[in-house]
Amino acid sequence: MSLQVQELSFGTRLRHRIGVVADSFRRNPTMLFGVAVLTLMAASAFLAPWLGLPDPMQQTPRERLQPPSAEALFGTDMYGRDLFSRVLHGGQVSLVVGLSVAALATSIGLFIGLISGFIRSVDAVIMRLMDALMSIPSILLAIALVALWGSSVQNVILALTIPEVPRVVRLVRSVVLMLRDQLYVQAAIACGTSTPRILIRHILPNTIPPLIVQATYICAQAVIFEAYLSFVGAGTPPEIPSWGNIMAEGRMFFFQTAGIILYPGAFLALTVFAINTFGDGLRDALDPRMQRRV
């Protein structure tokens, strides 16, 4: 005897999901604002080398700390480098770090969380390890890691990923624990479906919507934390312009040209704000159960 189940094709389900997201754009104009700002930020950061701007590293000592003008929209820094060009280029590091940390932390956390939630024998051990990792304040842990590993963009990404993993594990695990008691999962177990297949076919798809929402928040946080790390001197190497670096180097000159902190700061804040509003919108669209939470 075989059990035939009519499944909706992948295409149909994808179209449905896209429809849900499109609907939420209509209902939630601030989400559209978030996406627009993010697109603009990404475009200006990654197209910056082709915009005909001055080289962000080009030092012209005679023109140091100039106020904004037609040639240098945001003025120049203490080495006479064009601040506008540096701020646009600086977006690359922040966006790459934010996206990579979000992608890495959610995939590692998803993997560990699925195992921890479904295979009870390892759950206690994994969760105690995660509890301990969560007891170390994340920025401190990241600072220590970069201090030991040396400053490079990869190390910053890894150092910011590790403290985020336990939070993802907890989220995934709680979803899995809820799902394993659902009738359809019990039925799958009763049918003799293998554990990997249950995890991948039946449980994994349901963890994705809350995970995507979580990923946006991790991304926003990582963008801010990258700036913190650079600011305390344990971040992106100084020769690469990043928003954190520009502000860290410029702090001595803040009272001469406030723009050296305020321009990159404003770009950073706007980006994080956009990611957060995008995340809030996605949450309302993808995960109705979470709507009433923070």
Binding site: S135, I136, L140, I143, Y228, V232, R251, F254, V272
Partner: protein, 313 residues
Amino acid sequence: MYVYILRRLLATIPIMGLVAVFVFMLLHLSPGDPAVIIAGDFANEEQVDKIREALGLNDPLHVQFGRWLIDLLQGDMGESIYSGMPVTELIGQRVEPTLMLTLCTMVIAISLAIPLGVIAAWKVGTWIDRAVMTLAVFGFSVPVFVIGYLLILGGSRTLGWFPVQGYTSIFESIPGFLSHITLPALTLGAVYMALIARMTRATMLEVLNEDYVRTAYAKGLATRKVLVKHALKNAMVPISTTIGLGVALLIGGVVVTESVFAIPGLGRLTVDAVLRTDYPVIQGVILVFSFTYVLLNLLIDLTYVLFDPRIRY
């Protein structure tokens, strides 16, 4: 109750033990020779050997860990590589500014954020609600040090009300302490306030839909009484959880805030240690902050009984 507290305290021991193992392993899991990492790129062979000797890095790992743990249990966290001073002493000297800054921040943030969250929930959907929520998102999005510099620009430079930087101990002069602590506390508190205000609003919105709130209104209680005594009290458990977990944000923010305002606290100590790869100091600071964080959250768990008499320990 006391048995419960004792049991919870004992339950934190394995967690703290694991934290200690993590912190110990940080250095040894890093790629490369720990002594070379600590000595930095410009050290010669002799300096590296000296560090290896001083930290006992020649011994097998479990011997090193055992020795380190026994020292730690006796309150000995080793010596700073840079200054040669005991880490415990270095930390002891720097505790007061950080503790005061964190406490002031918590007092200011909690006493502003909870009322704001309550009002936003009460006036949900109005401009007041939207204004509070916009402020909260602003607090989440602007990095701590940008807020710090903005406040310095406004409060010290333009208005001249506060000193730009520095710190005065509360034991030396109370007005001096207050004028030095206000801007850093506001800076550090922004994210924390945003977090608490959002959580307060969300929980209050749920509670305000409950039957007993309608009953309280129906029997003619004043709005304020309903909001504070009936609704807020029931919303306090999740709010205090957030207050506890948010301290992790404060600890991260302290490192940055102390740099901006030149406050000689633990955050400043951390930054200096990072710049010099003074590993014993970094290790010590992480341990102290993590243990404080764990204990504080335990303490907050215990306060639940104040808000919800159904919870008994």
